[in-house]
Symmetry: C2
Subunit: 323 residues, 2 copies
């Protein structure tokens, strides 16, 4: 792992992204960019939506997980992979492992939602439950990795994960070449880090904002401080964005490229989800709707401009949509 | 109007479709074709979805309405247009009229759903309510058309409507060039007629099926009989497919091209809607889900083949989705 604070941009050169894109071609979906006039009118800008909720396993996570696994040696792949996650990353690793015919172990929380456990098992992963905090799960996964010779596929603490997620930007630039402003949900930072690194390589003039819940604003505080700051709690409905601090690998990448981090309220997230459903006809999970919420409710910096909001995932318990 | 039973294929030559496509370029959305592996596994074929639920005003109807209005004379457009519809066609006509800065009158049923009345008014149309049957609304609209010099924009009884809807096929052939089988919802027949005519012009080898609710099977009976047959009732949840008999303009076009009409049950429609929501992350109305239902539950004729199911619309009362 790169030491905290150091950053070798050569890792994120165009050639590296091209390799990731090549590996993912025909494997990951090239998800569509769609327009919705009603949302554009609400937002006061020319708003398009990059639909990673339509990605395989329902979220952008598949890109990084699959790409990282493609770089493992034959021997490593034979032994298998492991990760700790309660959500979309678990499903992505499970699916990618199935495609590589590799063993996958996923450590999930004791109180994991039944539907997510089931989905991860459906893809063929071995699911273990351990504790309620990410720290407990991470510790257990690290022990299991050592004991079983399994390779850890982290959610965001590896440059290969960022390279995979960054391929999303390459597609956006081809699909919406006039884009001026990009709005990206940020939890641990794998997606935002990958997008920022790819923007630096492909379109340095692009304005990139991260977006997170205001009650889980570890990234906003950290970017404002210029270094990693932890928060105490992150009790947001956006279950994919409950990180308590930015990842060490993505943080320096984001810090150098990002225009800023926009905070959105819980009600703004709910309203964005409902407008996406009723007007854009798209199922988007709370974490996936924060960028749209920023476009709708915090649009001062980009009124009248060409904006793409990234819909990062669609894995939501449908029964809860109308609570 | 062409006399029943006669059909001039020259009306549906490539050049006519090209003109419609040219008019709609940059005006209608080029909606995406997306893939969903889970649905493909269920269906036992390589299934893609053409997302006209993401079209402007939420359904394919905008294509035909806008294209037909583009062909009116300056004088006709100055006087305005009229239609009778309770659903997606009303919204499409209202939106297109607003874009042409034309007066639009829409005759809707006495018991029209509040949300559809509101949506049609939002686009600026004058809404009148008259009776509960299409016959009553049609009669009222024809009187109003004569009195006010308004041009009737019918839902499917005009070749220009078919030309507009047929542009959907041109996009599909570019987006999914290997398509072998196309599944298309059929109510009055504007969409299926347009698709069949375009298939004949662009890809005569394409296998096209119409799909309708088994309790509203006017098209299946008519195609089987070789001539237009009326049914007594059509009390299906697919509110856009409640036609009691095929349209006279589309019928001879469809009869000559279509492979057959597939009937789906009400429960199959509901299950398709829910799988589209939960797995494909797409909001699709009951009428829009019938083609997917055919792929999932009546796939014998096209197992293992390259299939596109057309999602015709997404205008559903979200509160009713989970009843």
């Amino acid at each position: 792992m790169q030491p905290s604070g150091t950053l070798d941009w050569n890792v994120y050169r165009r050639g590296a992204f091209e390799e990731a894109r090549h590996v993912l071609e025909g494997v990951a979906h090239r998800t569509p960019v769609v327009q919705c006039r009603t949302l554009s009118e609400h937002a006061g800008c020319d708003l398009s939506l990059k639909c990673e909720n339509l990605q395989r396993a329902g979220a952008f996570k598949f890109r990084g997980a699959y790409y990282m696994m493609s770089t493992l040696s034959k021997e490593e792949r034979k032994r298998g992979v492991i990760t700790y996650s309660s959500g979309n990353h678990a499903q992505a690793v499970a699916l990618a492992a199935r495609m590589f015919d590799t063993r996958a172990v996923v450590v999930m929380p004791d109180d994991a939602v039944g539907v997510k456990l089931a989905a991860t098992r459906t893809y063929g992963a071995e699911v273990l439950q351990q504790g309620r905090t990410p720290q407990e799960r991470k510790a257990r996964a690290e022990v299991l990795a050592r004991e079983g010779g399994l390779t850890m596929v982290p959610g965001y603490e590896d440059p290969r994960i960022l390279l995979g997620q960054g391929t999303t930007l390459i597609e956006i630039l081809a699909q919406a070449p006039k884009v001026e402003v990009l709005l990206v949900p940020v939890g641990g930072g794998g997606l935002l880090g990958g997008i920022c690194a790819a923007a630096r390589a492909y379109r340095p003039g692009l304005t990139v904002y991260g977006v997170e819940p205001e009650i889980a604003d570890d990234w906003a505080r950290s970017i404002e401080a210029g270094n990693i700051v932890s928060i105490e709690s992150a009790d947001t409905i956006a279950d994919g964005l409950r990180s308590l601090e930015p990842g060490e690998i993505p943080f320096p990448v984001v810090r150098e490229v990002v225009q800023g981090i926009i905070r959105v309220s819980e009600n703004e997230i709910r309203e964005a989800m409902h407008l996406l459903l009723s007007r854009a006809k798209l199922v988007v999970e709370p974490s996936g709707a924060v960028a749209t919420a920023a476009a709708l409710f915090h649009n001062e910096p980009f009124r009248g401009r060409q904006v793409v909001a990234l819909l990062s995932g669609g894995n939501v318990d449908l029964g809860k949509l109308f609570e």
